[in-house]
């Protein structure tokens, strides 16, 4: 496997360093040893000229894609690169790549099965990264919610002389009565306290 893939030169351009390393890892695991990762497009012309990559993977949200188009137009270093897809009829891959936010340039003439596995991998890694980001955001907001509940509890304990358990029960009961999330009630307690004290 490793020797089969190792002759393809792959360039990954991603301003997001974490995602870039996730993709790099995936490529290495798949047996690609000629992988270069850059995080900014500054100087990319020279890199492409010396590296002569067979495949370039770039984040679809990177506005510098237009710069890449210009580069391909000016120089003949990358011979006839095709945006995204070796096989235009593979609409499933095209859709999943676009949904995942992957765009790629592939040197014309490469066998499609060789490139397809790379693109599939990039797509799944991009998706994995989005999932990770989502989970992180969720974890972060859960933490924030817990923090605000703690603060509201403290306020109630102090102002109304409640025990911690009573304060918690009061918040929960109010949330149930008002059909709101506990963190929302807690937030209004914190806001009210800020206004009144």
């Amino acid at each position: 496997m490793a020797t089969m893939n190792s002759d393809l030169t792959i360039l990954v351009i991603d301003e997001n360093t974490i995602r870039a390393s996730i993709i790099e890892e995936g490529l290495t695991e798949a047996g690609h040893s000629n992988v270069t990762v850059i995080h900014e497009v500054q100087g990319v012309a020279r890199i492409i000229e010396t590296l002569k990559p067979d495949v370039i993977i770039i984040d679809i949200e990177n506005p510098n894609r237009d710069m890449m188009e210009h580069l391909f137009q000016l120089t003949r270093t990358v011979s006839r690169p095709i945006a995204m897809f070796v096989d235009r009829s593979d609409t499933a891959l095209i859709e999943s790549a676009m949904d995942a936010g992957v765009s790629a340039y592939v040197v014309d003439g490469l066998k499609k099965e060789r490139v397809k596995s790379i693109l599939d991998m990039a797509v799944s890694r991009f998706n994995a990264f989005s999932r990770l980001q989502r989970e992180l955001a969720e974890a972060r907001s859960a933490l924030e919610e817990r923090k605000v509940i703690e603060r509201a509890k403290g306020i109630l304990m102090k102002i109304r002389g409640l025990s911690e358990e009573q304060a918690f029960a009061l918040l929960r009961q109010t949330a149930m009565n008002e059909k709101k999330k506990m963190s929302e009630i807690a937030q209004s307690v914190v806001t009210a306290a800020r206004l009144l004290m």
């Binding site: 679809i60 949200e61 990177n62 506005p63 510098n64 894609r65 237009d66 710069m67 890449m68 188009e69 210009h70 580069l71 391909f72 137009q73 000016l74 690169p81 095709i82 945006a83 995204m84 609409t91 095209i94 859709e95 676009m98 949904d99 995942a100 936010g101 765009s103 340039y105």
Partner: protein, 422 residues
């Protein structure tokens, strides 16, 4: 009715089976004032009146717009006029058949140089503050000569895309001044919203881009506007509404309704009494996300040339509708083709010539609106009063090789090629 999708990578897959009466159109656009007609059609009820809903999707690069149109994520798109032509000529990294039945108007571009470079031009060539576009170009040529003599590095200028009106207009202006855009300077691509930052940071020494980015640079005191599109060629094609020919063929009724809606929106955009409302809408985060005051002045053609208070009013800086500004004149597509040949992007040939002209579809425009300009679709350009090219040349599409050969500055012909032969 308007929906903007912020999270562009999460677009739902388009319907697999489309009826031939599609009423909801997903339209890609880049945040520029020349997307006004499309945005107004959606925001001010013109599309709704035709029974259409436009889902406007803001994108970050022309390459994305092209790919998303090609791969059916967009039904229609705001595009640089040379992009469909390039696609029909199989240029670029994803050429997929693309046509345009409607131009989004004229004007909007300008060339801005760094204040530092402009000061140097004033020193070297002794030009006045209000020098015209041609004088500015020759002053830049003199400055470049001096820089070369002193062994200074080449100036770097930004355009937006290899197949853009900006690329061809910047090159036209430079060449008119006697500057070879491929040898005497370095042309790079900079995304429009980044132009004034790049200028300030010294990464580029000038740029050609659409509104409002020139005025943003001049207001910030980092740039000096030295030429407008009107100076180079007032009729020069700008943005278009692009679509896949096979989609247009299966949706004739929808295409007609769209053209009617866009035509009404364009007429509305042309009226200055609507500019406050238009500027307000364009300034929104969902669209251009730039100061409303600047957009209002851009629409009025009131130019701040720099931050020192030098001003210039260009009456038709934007022409959204008047004088059949929306008519997709095949002769204009041929002018684009001529510039592609001039700068070595494509060779001259009869088949390519027909393909380039076929990109523009006046038949669809006439079918929808029952009108169009008098006269032929392919005529001599740059002869009418008020429609001259910067260098006084006249474009005769029927003798393209001579037209191109007559330019003092152009790319070297590929070895062994003769523009007179197909």
């Amino acid at each position: 009715m308007m929906m903007t999708t912020q999270d562009r990578t999460r677009l739902p897959a388009p319907m697999a089976i489309r009826s031939d009466r599609q009423r909801v159109l997903r339209a890609g656009f880049i945040p520029l004032v020349d997307a006004s007609v499309l945005i107004a059609a959606s925001e001010f009820g013109f599309a709704a009146k035709e029974g259409l809903t436009l889902e406007l999707v803001k994108d970050v690069s022309w390459a994305n717009v092209r790919d998303r149109l090609a791969f059916r994520q967009f039904d229609i798109a705001h595009m640089l006029s040379p992009m469909p032509v390039a696609s029909m000529l199989a240029l670029g990294s994803n050429p997929s058949p693309t046509i345009t039945p409607f131009s989004l108007g004229r004007g909007g571009n300008a060339i801005t140089l760094s204040v530092k470079l402009f000061e140097r031009m004033r020193d070297v060539a002794e030009i006045t503050e209000d020098a015209d576009a041609f004088t500015n170009a020759t002053a830049l040529a003199k400055t470049i000569d001096q820089m070369k003599a002193r062994g200074e590095p080449l100036l770097t200028f930004g355009v937006t895309y290899p197949f853009s009106s900006h690329n061809y207009e910047f090159r036209y202006w430079l060449a008119a001044g006697g500057i070879d855009p491929d040898r005497d300077v370095k042309l790079v691509v900079v995304p429009p919203p980044l132009t004034s930052d790049a200028l300030e940071a010294g990464a580029i020494d000038g740029f050609c881009v659409g509104a409002p980015w020139n005025m943003i640079a001049s207001e910030r005191g980092v740039g000096r506007i030295v030429a407008a599109k009107q100076d180079i060629w007032p009729s020069a094609p700008e943005k278009v509404i692009a679509m896949r020919p096979e989609w247009a063929a299966t949706q004739p009724d929808t295409v007609s309704r769209l053209i009617v809606a866009l035509d009404a929106a364009a007429r509305w955009c042309d009226l200055s009494e609507n500019h406050d409302a238009l500027a307000e809408a364009l300034a929104d985060q969902r669209f251009i996300a730039a100061p409303v005051e600047i957009i209002r002045r851009v629409l009025a053609g009131e130019f701040s040339l720099d931050a020192k208070g030098n001003r210039r009013v260009i009456p038709d800086y934007f022409k959204f509708h008047r004088d059949f500004a929306n008519y997709p004149k095949p002769g204009h597509a041929l002018w684009i083709y001529s510039q592609m040949i001039r700068w070595g992007q494509v060779p001259y040939g009869d088949t390519a010539l027909a393909a380039a002209a076929g990109t523009y579809r006046p038949d669809l425009y006439r079918q929808a609106l029952g009108t169009g300009p008098a006269g032929e679709d392919i005529t001599t350009e740059g002869v009418e009063n008020g429609d001259h090219f910067l260098d006084g040349h006249v474009f005769d599409p029927t003798d393209m090789p001579s037209y191109i050969d007559n330019f003092a500055v152009s790319a070297e012909k590929p070895a062994g090629s003769d523009r007179r032969k197909a």
